[in-house]
Symmetry: C2
Subunit: 158 residues, 2 copies
């Protein structure tokens, strides 16, 4: 997997759609201005999103983009996969026969980790994020009840 600024651009742009497409489609020019990224680059990202049917374009003046399906049916993982391409995780995962068994041990561990990350991102929908923001606006900065620290491990590295 890859989780970088490209995915961030896509996610924030999709959030924009989720927040504003009630009063008509949102133009890329709008998003470009708001987020400060190039229009053509956005077009390229949206071409990828459209290919996965995460957005729907409307041409002509007054046109723009809508979400391709309801916001609660689009996960963060969907978006990131669409633009970043979900690259292979391990070199030997499944198919390739690992010689010494040793090698596959750490690989299977990493495999499990990435599976957990994937599931984590799959379980967060655009609707979740919008809703969460609205809740916060009303109730005022409620603390993190969704992720409670389950166990040990160190703090942020220097």
């Amino acid at each position: 997997m890859r989780l970088s600024t490209k995915g961030r651009y896509a996610v924030t742009a999709m959030l924009d759609l989720a927040l504003h497409s009630e009063d008509g489609p949102v133009t890329l020019a709008d998003i470009s201005a708001k987020q400060g990224i190039s229009l053509s680059y956005l077009e390229q990202l949206f071409a990828l999103l459209r290919a996965k049917q995460l957005v729907r374009g409307v041409r002509g003046p007054g046109g723009g983009y809508y979400l391709g399906r309801p916001a609660d049916e689009i996960s963060i993982a969907d978006i990131i996969c669409a633009v970043d391409e979900w690259v292979e995780f391990t070199r030997c995962s499944g198919k390739e026969d690992c010689r010494d068994g040793e090698r596959c041990l750490t690989h299977s561990l990493w495999n499990e980790l990435s599976e957990r990350i994937y599931r984590f991102l799959t379980d967060i929908s655009l609707a979740d994020m919008v809703e969460r923001d609205e809740v916060r606006e009303v109730a005022g900065k409620q603390e993190d009840d969704l992720v409670e620290p389950p166990r040990k491990a160190s703090g942020r590295a220097a």
Copy 2:
């Protein structure tokens, strides 16, 4: 943040240390052979890990690397941050004053998401992964009791 093969190399290498450094230090030549990545590239990764004191090198014949601290005090986030550099998440996070407030809305949402991902990775230590693997070896492929699907959002994209 960035979550790619470079981070994977570092994590699997650290897992190797966690698993094998009881009988002496682990050499990079070993890891290089096992994981099939270049020795010099490993050296560069370990230079970064060493800078963050996640590993400790021992020179001379019979030398190699130990973990810099106990495995339960090293999180996956620590490792990935060390090699991948935790790049800025939002352009305006905190310091830069966002003009219309609009822009900062999606930014704060993304900010929260990335914070959750970070916490998620922080909460998994090397010891957790090793322990989990041992448990699985003994008890035989126990299912995912650590991550239960909390709510909606769609499945894996085509």
